[in-house]
């Protein structure tokens, strides 16, 4: 997997000097996963995972949240994100915009198969490796997204914030769709390629900070998002590494009090947009 970076530990961050930030000026990606207070207290591992892979102008990002009741949730989440980004880039050559949906569907299919295969190897039900999954494929200034379950994707274009993909939680708060379910295709939502300057992909531990509900609809929460993106863009512009800043925010007392869940937040910054210091 070229340029692949997977994250499955507490306070994960992209290593300093990675290709993503130093050499590739077509897209910057920064992010972190942090174990939630709930798992800290119970001694369980962080069940969130994210992976990034790509080169040049094409990048795949995947974020997953292992389901709390699954005994191998962290394994399922990790396999899902790694296989998803790997599949995106192995398949894609000169993918046209209209083929973006097929590509995303393929990544989900491969990720699911890899998780089910692992479950078989472990002799357990695939539900023991259940997770949500968000996959983003970025190319030429546009991102195509596939999404099963909760978590959220917020995009920014010309200063305007937009929820690109909302959490799908089912009717009740403690339920969500998962990758390993038999009807996963019914639950897969695909967002067609959308131009972005910046994009945030996050698991449900962060989603309440990124969006609030008004009249039953999710709306981006600007007082959280705008300072976050401004800080990250500026730090990246100064050749700094914001990974530890994001990890610090997610692990902060305020965020941990906000939600006891594991938290993953990944930010994509297109350095060529007009507002960016290097744009």
């Amino acid at each position: 997997m070229d340029g692949a970076l997977s994250r499955s530990e507490t306070l994960m961050s992209i290593p300093e000097g990675s290709d993503i930030k130093k050499n590739n000026r077509l897209l910057w990606i920064t992010g972190a996963s942090v174990k939630g207070r709930r798992h800290e207290q119970s001694g369980q591992p962080c069940q969130d995972a994210f992976a990034i892979s790509g080169e040049g102008e094409r990048w795949g990002v995947a974020v997953a949240d292992g389901v709390g009741s699954a005994t191998h949730a962290e394994t399922g989440a990790s396999i899902a994100v790694n296989k998803a980004v790997q599949s995106l880039l192995s398949r894609e050559q000169n993918c046209t915009e209209s083929q973006g949906e097929d590509l995303i569907r393929y990544a989900f299919l491969q990720a699911r198969e890899a998780v089910v295969t692992e479950a078989r190897a472990k002799g357990v039900s695939p539900s023991e490796l259940a997770s949500t999954l968000i996959v983003g494929y970025f190319k030429a200034g546009k991102i195509c997204i596939g999404h099963i379950g909760d978590g959220i994707v917020v995009g920014v274009k010309s200063g305007e914030l937009k929820i690109l993909s909302s959490p799908d939680t089912g009717e009740y708060a403690n339920e969500t769709a998962c990758l390993v379910e038999n009807n996963w295709e019914d639950n897969l939502r695909i967002i067609q390629p959308t131009e972005i300057d910046q994009c945030i992909i996050a698991t449900d531990g962060c989603q309440g900070a990124l969006a609030i509900r008004k009249g039953g609809k999710f709306q981006p929460y600007e007082p959280f998002i705008l300072p976050l993106l401004s800080f990250i863009s500026r730090k990246l512009g100064e050749h700094g590494n914001p990974d530890s800043d994001i990890a610090g925010l997610l692990a902060s007392q305020r965020m941990q009090e906000f939600s006891g869940d594991d938290k993953t937040l990944v930010v994509l910054v297109n350095p060529h947009h007009p507002d960016h210091p290097e744009g």
Partner: protein, 233 residues
């Protein structure tokens, strides 16, 4: 900006807690007079006291109380635990259990509609029925019986709510078994275990209000050697 951390720069919204609508459907018929109604009132105080000290439950549980005796009355519309003041119930009248159950199911649907309207996330609601007798407003097989059992069984099957029946003293457990969803055996209170039952209820609600996505809720088994309940054979 060098001195500012991200935590200092961003505004984190007030957390929107998912709510759990819970309806207690309580028998206040004449047969509850005396120590039983006193125990029930005391149990409600225990429940309120326990839940108010549980941080999450206090924020997430919305409690309503329906009594059935002289009439079917929503004696406590849905309220948060912090605002909840245990009522002083009085016993008297017959046992219009069927109408009370229908009222509970209707109350829950209205509450869910309110949650959806205001954008509040919610858990699957719970109905707890506590009785010491048997319904006087329906008999096996009559129209009301069909309606009530239909509402309970389809409500469970369609995942609209979870229904628990708790019988005390001379409760007709055979009736309660037929009313209950096929997979949920009604529980019978052991003598003088009222406070333990309400402690179990508060712990169960606390557990539900702290449940995460995909979690199976394993409530404590109240029928063990130290539990408050028995499963009637």
């Amino acid at each position: 900006m060098d001195s500012d951390t991200l935590e200092q720069l961003v505004d984190i919204p007030y957390p929107q807690h998912p709510h759990c609508a819970t309806v207690l459907v309580l028998d206040t018929s004449a047969s509850m007079k005396g120590s039983k109604i006193a125990e029930l009132n005391e149990g409600l105080k225990i429940l309120a006291d326990e839940l108010v000290h549980d941080d999450l439950a206090a924020k997430r549980i919305d409690l309503a109380i329906i009594t059935f005796g002289r009439s079917v009355e929503v004696i406590q519309p849905f309220t948060g635990i912090i605002q909840f003041e245990p009522p002083e119930l009085e016993a008297g009248g017959y046992t219009p259990m069927g109408a009370a159950i229908l009222e509970a199911a209707s109350l829950i649907e209205k509450r869910k509609a309110e949650y959806r309207e205001t954008g509040v996330d919610y858990y699957r609601p719970w109905i707890f029925l506590i009785t010491d007798g048997q319904p006087t407003d329906m008999s096996r097989g009559d129209t009301r019986w069909q309606e009530v059992t239909g509402v309970i069984h389809s409500g469970e099957a369609d995942r609209k709510f979870l229904f628990w029946a708790l019988g005390v003293d001379q409760a007709n457990m055979s009736i309660l078994r037929e009313l209950s969803p096929p997979n949920r055996t009604p529980l019978q209170l052991r003598e003088a275990q009222w406070s333990e039952m309400f402690l179990w209820l508060s712990r169960s609600l606390a557990k539900i209000s702290d449940s995460r996505i995909g979690e199976q809720i394993n409530l404590e088994n109240p029928t063990g050697p130290d539990g408050w309940g028995v499963v009637p054979l």
